[in-house]
């Protein structure tokens, strides 16, 4: 999280932090374990009133940032959601609202209902086959026919698909043999041919589905932007998702770390607090370093993606790869330093371990993003 926040940003963050303190304490998260949606509709609407889904939408379409950098503002909320291991499809709703808001007109009712929290949306980007977790590997077919489109393919994992009123589906035109451009279609969830299969997940409250599109027919105005010309928009969506997701992971890392530091002071062995052992102090120093580095690169990625600088792709991949790898190292070290209690359901630590673990694999794994970084470097060196 940013070290220096404007008073407006701090108000935004603080309001959400206080709301989450009350709305989703640990016992509530445990209760939601058995809830099919993982969150209550009223909880989400109230969150939306605090600005959860409006920051990435332009002002003239009903949204607006508090600092002029909507994505940076939204990462402050994502951080709090991670810090509280809070439920709700925050990343997807923001990415879909931003995508619809950035397209030329249309879908106003959907945007409005996402901003108010009356409905939620899911971004159907990832696919289950190797390489399918990133846009370049997308195989879902979009067939153009007179007056409309037909969708065929399977997306997974799709968050809150059963709760979503709309699915933003990213696919490829069947005519696009050269794989030159992606196409996005906004699919009302109730459309014939949309089939959901529930998945199990490591997170306690976040739910995922595999969504099959079996000859799903929609009119042409369901296409967001121009058919075959969505690659740039999809890349931006991916970067936004990464910025929000890494900020959320950093929040959960911070919470797990703070809990573990407190534990090290409280827990005595052989008449000394754990915090007095140099072997353990040095592990805490390593964790603190990973944590600060994660804060730093996540914030830098959010700022670059928001501003659309030339470094955005590199920073997004560096953030996703680093936070994915070192975030999970950090939370597992927190478990180790807790000892046996750290792997029980009763202790709260796992709520944050789960959140960071899930974050590691959504929107590309550390390994995927390391290869992306190498590819960017290779291109730059060939140019220069």
């Amino acid at each position: 999280m940013l070290l220096r926040r404007t008073p407006d940003q701090e108000f935004l963050r603080e309001t959400t932090a206080r709301y989450l303190d009350d709305a989703v304490p640990a016992h509530e998260l445990r209760r939601l374990r058995d809830d099919p949606a993982g969150f209550d509709a009223a909880y989400w609407r109230q969150g939306a009133e605090l600005g959860w889904t409006s920051l990435l939408v332009p002002e003239d379409r009903g949204g607006g940032s508090v600092s002029g950098s909507g994505l940076v503002d939204a990462t402050l909320l994502a951080y709090e959601l991670g810090w509280h291991a809070a439920p709700g499809p925050f990343v997807d709703c923001n990415v879909v609202a931003a995508a619809l808001g950035a397209a030329d007109g249309g879908h106003d009712e959907v945007i409005k209902s996402l901003i108010s929290g009356e409905s939620v949306a899911a971004w159907c980007m990832a696919e289950g086959h190797p390489g399918g977790q990133l846009p370049e590997g997308i195989e879902l077919e979009v067939h153009l026919e007179p007056g409309g489109v037909v969708l065929r393919g399977v997306k997974r994992p799709v968050e809150s698909a059963a709760q979503a009123s709309h699915l933003l589906v990213t696919g490829r035109l069947t005519t696009d043999r050269a794989r030159q451009g992606l196409t996005q279609v906004l699919v009302p969830a109730a459309t014939a041919g949309v089939e959901l299969q529930p998945m199990r997940s490591v997170d306690l409250t976040r739910r995922f589905w595999a969504v099959r599109f079996r000859d799903v027919r929609l009119p042409l105005d369901a296409v967001v932007g121009e058919p075959g010309a969505a690659t740039e928009a999809v890349t931006r969506q991916l970067h936004q998702a990464i910025a929000l997701s890494t900020a959320e992971s950093v929040g959960a890392m911070q919470r797990a770390f703070d809990m573990t530091v407190a534990w090290a002071f409280d827990r005595y062995s052989f008449g000394r607090p754990l915090a007095s052992y140099q072997a353990l102090k040095h592990r805490f120093a390593d964790m603190k370093t990973w944590l600060e580095a994660s804060h730093a690169v996540a914030d830098a990625a959010a700022a670059a993606v928001d501003a659309g600088t030339s470094e955005a792709a590199e920073l997004a991949s560096a953030a996703k790869a680093y936070v994915g790898e070192y975030g999970t190292e950090l939370v597992q070290d927190c478990v180790q330093l807790h000892g046996g209690i750290g792997v029980t359901f009763e202790h709260d630590l796992h709520l944050f371990v789960r959140r960071v673990t899930l974050g590691r694999v959504l929107f590309g794994t550390p390994s995927d993003h390391r290869r992306r970084l190498a590819a960017i470097l290779e291109r730059e060196e060939l140019v220069s």
């Binding site: 070290l3 220096r4 530091v261 090290a264 002071f265 607090p273 915090a275 007095s276 140099q278 102090k281 040095h282 805490f284 120093a285 390593d286 603190k288 370093t289 600060e292 580095a293 804060h295 730093a296 690169v297 914030d299 830098a300 590199e314 920073l315 991949s317 560096a318 790869a321 680093y322 390994s367 993003h369 390391r370 290869r371 992306r372 970084l373 190498a374 590819a375 960017i376 470097l377 290779e378 060196e381």
Partner: protein
Amino acid sequence: MSGDTDRDAAVRGAVGDDGLEDVEHFRARARAWAEENLAPLDPTALEVSFRAGLTEEEELAAVAHDRAVQRKLYDAGFAGICVPREYGGQGLTPAHQRALNDALAGFEFPIRLQSPTFAPCLAVLLDFGTEEQKRRHVPAILRGEELWMQLLSEPSGGSDVAAALTTAVRDGEQWILNGSKIWTTGAWWSDWGLCLARTNWDVPKHRGLTVFMLPLRQPGVEIHRIEMLNGSKEFCQEFLTDVVVPDSDRLGEVDDGWTVGTRWMFHERMLYNSPLVTFPVGNSFHASGPSLAGVARAVGRADDPHVQELVGEARMLDIVGERLQERIGTGIRQGLISDQAAAIARLFKGVVSSRVRTIAFDIAGAAGGAWLAEDGAAAERGTEFLVRQTGSIGGGTTEMARNVISERLLGMPRERALDRDVPFRDVPRGAAGRRGQGVATITGGGSPAQPAGPGAAREEGTSP
């Protein structure tokens, strides 16, 4: 100075309410000047400056060239950006220094003057120098006329800097210094040294130290170059024998050297984050070796997915390191986080430099163990691997950084020390410290080899 009037003319009309030149205007002006006046950066310059590869003559020529480039910067009004104007600087802000780092991207710059001359030495002078001391030395440093070294570490102790054995004894208006210092970078071509010496053996260690300034080229100062295992002779050891230092060259109060030393080590940890240092952007954070993608191409492994992951990992660590430095540097400057947080950046940098050298060695494969000149970027990766740990040793070991982070930032209990509240004279010392009383060479001068402590390591900012 001739550049002054040119500069005043150039910035007219671009001055803000604070009386300072607009940062963007400054950046554009610096870029235009660099394009006119500076040569492109030799891509090998950074690497060569940090390891073996230059003959003595070549290195002296490189030093002379660095001085000349610094003089150019000075004459054009681009030296000492954050140094007050009365001492020959520009009186501008860290934002201007960052703009200069942007503007100089891809151009030559005085590599050897940045550390330790500008940071920590110049920084310490600005913090503690008397008006007379600052007027004498600061402009000369900015003109490239005085290269400084830090005479801080001793053979008898690496991390425990405050246990210095080098002794200064008062003799009227002057001091007589005896002892030995080590791990000084390029002392053999430097002009002045900042020296931490013991002035009182009858008080606890932190309370009996004093800092002095002394010319390195004088009778009684003997400088030996140390050959590192990769052939580099970058580091030196100095032997001080009855060196006379006038009291007017004392920096700070007598026996209050640890106050100076604490800031000194703070400035050292700031490294390239110091607003006194010019380090053009685009130069690698870990400053060691060619691009890893280049190593992969040299051995024909650029298409190997495993190698791509390694290249990507190194790039990731590089990017994250830059952003971490930035976060911590800005946080400290703005007073948002403790000065001690510099240890976080230090630990990260050390661990990463080891990891990146391992990656390079891995990618090079067998060419890392034995190579031909035509192996290009893959050559020497094994040599770099041999000195892999230097980044985790020099300038304060990563173990000391871990102590600082856990104790100073997280508030965990301090390690037990047997030298607190005890007159330094009575503190237990190992064989190296007892035998040589600070004049032992690193190999013990004929006696069995005695480890001298891990390089220029530091006890970070301990207060008495």
